[in-house]
Amino acid sequence: MVSPNTPETPGDAAAPSAAPRSIHDVVIRLAGNSQDGIQSVGGFLARLAGRSDQDVMTYMTIPSTISGGPSIFQVRMGTGDILSSGDRADILVAFYQHSYDAHISSLRPGGVLLYDSDHVTPVEGDNRFTQIAVPITSGTVEAVGGAGKDKGKNIYILGLIARVFDLDVQKLAALIKERFGGKNEDIVRNAMLAFDAGYAWPQNNLHDLFYRFEAIDLATRASGRPQVTMDGNQALAYGLLAAGVRHGAGYPITPWSSIMETLRTELPKYGGLFVQCEDEIAAISTAIGFSYTGHLAITGSSGPGLSLKMEALGWATMAEMPLIVVNVQRGGPSTGMPTNVEQSDLLQAIYGSHGDTPRVVLSPKNVEDCFYIAMEACRIARTYSTPVIILSDMALASRIEAFDEPDFPKLMVDPKADLSDRGADFKPYPLDAITRHAPPGSKIGSGKYPTVTGLEHDELGHPTGSSKLHTQMTAKRREKIKKLGASLPAPELNGDAAGDVLLVTWGSTWGPALEALKRINTAGVTGGHLHLRHIHPLPDGLEDIFNRYRKIVVAEINDEGLYGFGQLAMMLRARYANPAIVSVTKTDGLTFKISEIVAGVARQLQSAHLDATLSVAQPSALAKK
């Protein structure tokens, strides 16, 4: 492999002596400060992996301070399905002493520590890991020189990683050029100088670290479409665009903001618009106003903002207006942990309202699913003339994954509003049919124009105090959501169809739970994993599935509450009255580790055997044999 700038010299950057060792996947954690651009290293690796038909998952922390302060980026890359960010790292790149101190414990035994010898002094003789001193700062300064000082350390490390994992240097160089191409020539040149310096760092210092990812099984990439790499918020925004959403309104809050930023930028190209409002109440109101004109609209927020939208959501339920509400969950209550993950808005989403408001709540399982759940939410909102809440979370919002490009020609939804004439018998709220509103601009054959209203009403929208009508209309609003429930596909069930344990998850816990299931099964425990994308209404048939397992363990990132059950567990217990439903919860603001789920299952099954498998440390695949 030839470095793109420098011709290969057989001197210091000599070709590796041995053939690369084959590995399935690797977890690389970069730890430094936020101004070091380590996120962009992760971004390059993620996109490279996407272009190489590898599945990519990244895990990123954003420090609460905007600049300065510690920051990490973790990328797991490999062949085939990568389900989670990985419990622990195989490689830790430590830029500073504090990075080393804070993250060395995340390294697996047998893993590799690459540390900046200009800043870090590791514990001497720590033979749990392969420790490699790399003069990251001085190497970068030497390569780039000039006023940039150590800017480019990130790219230097990228070069080094490219060498260790035998990555496609041509593709990486192309990505670097694309990334910096818009800026001046010097920046691209400096970046390439740093990259080459890292790549050419003497091989013999690397202790024969040389790997290559297993060859991809092309049959698993049958879609025939290339892979794309993006985060969950992007996928969600583009899913809405594909679904024909052209109007929206919002108010900024982390981690929802990037969805509204994307839509504000993209929508005008599609003839639409996104309004930044004065607050979340105005935002949902404007969005419902858009929907009223016949354009299904989106609003969104994170937990505190969803709370502000509740009264208007009640109106949308009563007036039966289609609407998409995205809630990218973070740690709560109140400002809570704004840059951490939590699944603690479930009950707010389902029940947080005045009055009887049957809600539709969906949740994506991974980044790719953010795209498809957005499309599905739009279909449901239109078909049932109802608000639909999408519960994403901080982990999905900021995580980068690669997935097959959607089949756009097949999926695109026509955004046109229907302003056709309505017949003389038009009723906005028929008791025997699902509401189909006539947007303003459409003529009504009877000459009697409808009022959409939050007061209880008769079929024509006239306010009423009739107890009979309130009972009938409440049932009308409830029954259409039940009808939706009955139409839903059976949820994804993996593993054994019956057995000791059924793991139940929702949202971003999907991946870690699937990996946990493998560990559980490998340990000889029979069990399956059921994942819910449709959380409210629930799909039919869960009762029978639950009955086939001894324990139903619901794993979710929220508190066990006053009665010892997480939010989904509580709802499932109420719904199925099945005492076998139990909870594994946590509130540390981080995504589930596989080991945490396995430990939770072990606790619930009182399985000493399963517990024992946990105490065996999983060595890194990079460990020297």
């Binding site: 109007h247 599609y270 618009l273 955004p415 509003a417 947007p439 003529k443």
Partner: protein
């Protein structure tokens, strides 16, 4: 904000060549107390629509919550009754969602200046193209006599049994401050004046607001007597500049002069009635958003939605 691609072509089946009359525009019988000032506002609004003759299906009457906010039930047009204080952002969605519509919002002083105060500021400053009529009775009518943000100091209510103690807002100053591009004041006892103000407001391109003093006979009878001549009050009309070069004209009010408008707003109670301020120069949000679309469409060479999404995803490979 209308884009031709976002609407299906209306089918020309129903032909309404019939002119809009009060009879056609009348819907449910108002539930207001006999003698409530809001009746006159409604009657004037029918006359405004009779004058303007907009296509029936393109008129939208919208409101929040309050006695005054029941308005849309009494007008036979597309319309809605939303939640307390939030009708303006909803109506902004209607106006920006379909620029072809004529959007009217009605509400009370509590709805507009209290719970909805912040929305008023922002819908106005954005100059969203719609007309807002505030029926100010200086009290909370629907909830039966609590203090409102325009209740004068000393007015006894159920929440201020010994008389209101908080400084009321000055509606005209507040409205001028929001950046609204058309600000007028009228009185429910002056039907012709209301019709004129609402008609001018409707024709104004941008955010137009008319505050109408509308007596709540049930909970604040006599509130506005000081501006009713037959009750001994003075009706003081704003004389607008005619730009006719006459010496009298120098003293008349220039509606484009914001400073003069603020001066008028500072007059002692009961103050003057008419158009305080009008700005036809500032672009509406509807126009500004449409310009963004035009520019973006030029930049993307009118690519289809499918082409746009595919191109975006190609960059993320």
């Amino acid at each position: 904000m209308s884009s031709p691609t976002l609407f299906s072509p209306p089918t020309p089946a129903i032909t309404t060549a019939v002119p809009l009359t009060k009879k056609i525009l009348t819907a449910d019988h108002p539930t207001w107390c006999p003698g409530c000032g809001d009746f006159a506002v409604l009657a004037s609004f029918y006359r405004v629509l009779e004058k303007l003759q907009y296509p029936h299906e393109k008129i939208v009457t919208f409101a929040g919550i309050g006695c005054s906010s029941r308005f849309p039930y009494f007008v036979n047009t597309h319309g809605g009754h939303y939640i307390h204080g939030r009708a303006l952002p909803f109506a902004a969605g209607i106006s920006l969602g379909n620029d072809d519509l004529h959007v009217f919002v009605f509400g009370g002083d509590g709805d507009g200046f209290s719970i909805g105060g912040n929305h008023l500021v922002h819908t106005a400053r954005k100059n969203v193209n719609l007309t807002y009529v505030i029926m100010d009775n200086s009290v909370y009518g629907l909830t039966k006599k609590q203090t409102s943000p325009t209740s004068p100091i000393g007015f006894k209510t159920k929440t201020d049994p010994t008389g209101a103690i908080d400084q009321p807002i000055n509606p005209m100053r507040t409205l001028l401050n929001t950046g609204a591009t058309f600000v007028a004041r009228s009185h429910a006892t002056q039907v012709n004046h209301m019709v004129e103000m609402m008609t001018r407001a409707a024709k104004h391109p941008g955010f137009s607001v008319v505050e109408i003093l509308s007596e709540c006979v049930e909970f604040y009878a006599g509130a506005f007597d000081s501006s009713i001549p037959r009750k001994g009050g003075t009706w003081s009309l704003i004389q607008e500049k005619k730009h006719d070069g006459t010496p009298e004209d120098a003293d008349r009010h220039d509606v484009t002069d914001e400073v003069a408008a603020f001066k008028l707003a500072g007059q002692a109670w009961p103050g003057s009635f008419g158009v305080f301020y009008e700005n036809n120069v500032r672009k509406t949000k509807n126009v500004l958003e449409a310009e963004l679309v035009t520019k973006a469409r030029e930049r993307t060479k009118n690519a289809t939605d499918l082409q746009l999404l595919q191109a975006t995803f190609a960059k993320m490979r």
